[in-house]
């Protein structure tokens, strides 16, 4: 394993393999990137105050009142300067020590991080429990060629965070972590890494080709530029083409037609009316910050969703986001607990949809908004492609029809229907409310105004609940809920025929047990029947690179 060859053309020569089971340190610029803002603020403060002194020293002239002035007048400038320097040195020493003490190790089964100076933390995570690996590159870190690698496992705040690593190191480490987690034998993992690395230098496709060609030139500037312009999806580990493209126009349209805009217009109307009727100060107090905040929100959402890409890799689905600060997330097979396709009313004329998922470990995070959105906005075709990646079992011809019916049909289409008497619970949508099952998932359709289709793979169902309140009883109805890990997806049917609900409850319970027993997704490449992402739906996806054949052939591709 120590003989793992270097990544030609990608990493710097002589860089050790990060997943070799030894302890490694993070990127040397880490202290600057993490505490960078504070350090720069102190420096800025010092400089801003010294500026006057410098100006006076150089040119002579009037000096305004400031702390340094007072210190100067009393002859204490030396002490102040010394305190400042000592403070800075202590800060730097602290950052340096914390960098020295912050080490990580990726073994065959676990990833470990040790950190802290006084209070030591040692965190171990099992690789087969990985729920996702994401690489984030905030703008500041991108300039330095650094990236943050998050290995998330299920649980509140349970993630192994490696911030920061070199940009190419992060890509390489992710590949290795996913390979180790997938259950492929170690030797194969090595070979695949070599093959993948060979690919990287050999086949730099599409837009990256020109950049990569020039990238052979030495020099740190070139490397930075190359990294900045490189496609978000690592071409060696993912098919180069994203299966979905979101034109900027559609993205803008989706933001303009969002619920936020409606709320904004309502508030705006109230403010205008109020100010016209004589309270002019309201206009200034609310309008100026309001416009700024709204503009910030739109800009933020826009840049975050720009350059969206999604593609299937051998280690799961990879989603990339972001223009200035970029991030991309790899979800190994079987880590998606529920999928929801929804359509707000305003998007209906345009035929746009949104896909969100439930995943373990993402709930309650600040970034959960983006990490659970799989498709910010897309057409029915896009939805079909993305669903094919997320849940390969839905790729068959029949289920495709079923999904389409689940999205747009007003009634029927292979879904069970709620009876007419359930209208008190769902006055408009009772015709649409219903469920359907495929071999490995249950589809719940609801919503007339705001259309929803929730899909829960049976292998990920945590429990089922059937509820019957007094009104339900009077109308012979039942509510059926499928429990999954916490997330934005709502998976329940508020009112069904009681008898049908009983039958569904029993049938789904059995299906869930069966599917869970047959599920081997936690070591997705170790078993031949593992559920690898199916790219059959996505015609734009190029076939897998011939070098990468150590990974077992994909099973799910048989046309149903």
């Amino acid at each position: 394993m120590s003989g793992a060859p270097e990544v030609a053309g990608a990493g710097k020569a002589g860089r050790p393999d990060l997943a070799d089971g030894e302890w490694h340190r993070l990127h040397p610029a880490t202290p600057l990137l993490r505490g960078g803002i504070a350090l720069i603020a102190v420096l800025g403060f010092a400089l801003a105050n010294f500026r006057e002194r410098a100006v006076e020293l150089l040119f002579g002239g009037p000096v305004p009142d400031d702390p340094f002035q007072t210190a100067y007048e009393r002859g204490h400038l030396g002490w102040v300067g010394l305190a400042l320097v000592v403070g800075l040195l202590v800060g730097i020493a602290g950052f340096y020590a914390s960098w020295r003490m912050h080490t990580f190790r990726v073994g065959d089964d676990v990833v470990e991080v040790r950190s802290g100076i006084l209070f030591r933390t040692h965190r171990r995570a099992r690789l087969d429990r990985i729920q996702g690996v994401s690489i984030a590159r905030p703008l500041f870190a991108r300039i330095f060629g650094a990236a943050k690698l998050d290995i998330s496992v299920a649980g509140q705040d349970a993630k192994v965070q490696l911030s920061y690593l070199g940009s190419t190191d992060a890509d390489r480490l992710r590949r290795e972590v996913l390979l180790l987690a997938s259950g492929v034998q170690q030797s194969e993992a090595d070979r695949t890494t070599v093959a993948a690395a060979a690919d990287l230098s050999a086949t730099a496709p599409g837009s990256a080709a020109a950049v990569a060609a020039t990238g052979q030139a030495d020099g740190i500037v070139h490397q930075r530029v190359r990294e900045l312009l490189a496609p978000e999806l690592d071409p060696s580990a993912a098919p180069p083409e994203s299966v979905v493209r979101i034109p900027p126009g559609r993205l803008i349209g989706s933001l303009v037609l969002s619920g936020f805009t409606v709320a904004l217009l309502v508030v705006g109307a109230i403010v205008v009316v109020a100010s016209v009727t004589g309270r002019q100060e309201l206009l200034v107090i609310i309008l100026v910050p309001g416009v700024l905040a709204a503009g910030g929100y739109y800009f933020n959402r826009f840049t975050k969703s720009l350059r969206y890409s999604i593609a299937g890799t051998s280690d799961g689905v990879r989603i990339g986001y972001g223009l200035l600060s970029t991030s991309n997330d790899t979800l190994p097979p079987g880590r998606i607990h529920a999928v929801e396709v929804s359509q707000p009313l305003l998007w209906r004329p345009a035929g746009w949809w949104m896909i969100r998922i439930n995943r373990a470990g993402a709930a309650g995070e600040a970034s959960s908004q983006t990490s659970t959105t799989m498709l910010p906005v897309g057409t029915v075709d896009d939805v079909r492609r993305v669903l094919g990646l997320l849940l390969p079992g839905l790729a068959g011809e029949q289920t495709r029809e079923l999904v389409l019916a689940g999205l747009v049909a007003r009634k029927g289409g292979g879904f069970s229907a709620a009876p007419r008497r359930s209208w008190p619970y769902q006055p408009l949508s009772w015709r649409r409310t219903g469920s359907a099952i495929t071999a490995d998932a249950v589809l719940l359709r609801s919503g007339f105004v705001w259309r929803h289709l929730s899909i829960v793979p049976f292998a990920r169902v945590q429990s089922l609940r059937l509820t019957r309140g007094p009104l339900h009883r009077a109308l012979r109805l039942s509510e059926l809920t499928v429990h999954t890990v916490a997330g934005p997806v709502r998976s329940n049917l508020p009112a069904l025929d009681a008898e049908a609900a009983d039958e569904s409850f029993e049938a789904w319970a059995r299906a869930a047990v069966r599917a869970a027993a047959a599920d081997t997704a936690h070591r997705w490449a170790a078993h031949p029947q593992a559920t690898a992402p199916d790219v059959q739906l996505a015609q734009t996806v190029a076939p897998e690179a011939p070098h990468a054949d150590p990974i077992p052939p994909r099973p799910g591709g048989d046309p149903a």
Binding site: R129, V461, G469, H483, A509, A512, A521
Partner: protein
């Protein structure tokens, strides 16, 4: 899906009973909780009724017109609640099937939950003061979904321990991922 090594009181995963919809299943194979649990229910219902009555007292003292009617209503609610306590306790039941645990409770708001054993993340055993005096314990089955909320109250302590061990070993033999 029947499994010979699993407990005597499982069935082959068939429908509960051909009951009319809307009526809780009356099949005999449901495990009931200890009848002593009625005591816990009565105490908590009584405390609830007292609190409800207590809320109305200030209004009576202040001499508002709805003070006395509110107290009357509170008393009626309290008495009904108490009267239904045994019925409520009888509605609590669970079944250990071949591969999942089915739990039900409630008359007015009936609910039934099915949890595959393999989904177990941990099991809690809690004992409240009254339950402890009666030698009872509550067993809570926790999965990765917060909403599952299966807790079986009113088990005799030794039964609760035995059930916990059984559930743990069942979960171990049917271990599945998240």
């Amino acid at each position: 899906m029947s499994d010979p090594e699993v407990p005597p009181h499982t069935d082959d995963g068939q429908r509960v009973s051909p009951e009319r919809p809307g009526v809780p299943p009356q099949a005999d194979d449901w495990q009931r909780v200890s009848p002593k649990y009625v005591g816990v229910e009565i105490v908590s219902a009584a405390i609830g009724a007292l609190v409800l009555c207590g809320i109305t007292v200030p209004f009576i003292v202040l001499g508002t017109w709805f003070g006395w009617p509110a107290l009357g209503l509170a008393v009626v609610i309290g008495v009904l609640n108490l009267a239904f306590a045994p019925r409520r306790v009888r509605s609590i039941g669970y079944r250990l099937r071949a591969d999942d645990l089915v739990f039900r409770r409630g008359i007015m708001f009936h609910r039934r939950v099915s949890v595959p054993y393999g989904r177990m993340q941990l099991i809690d055993i809690n004992r409240g003061p009254v339950a402890r005096a009666l030698g009872l314990a509550e067993l809570k089955f926790v999965t990765a979904a917060a909403a599952t909320g299966v807790s079986i109250p009113g088990l005799v302590e030794s039964d609760a321990d035995a059930l916990r061990d059984r559930l743990v070993s069942l979960a171990e033999s049917r271990r599945i991922g998240l």
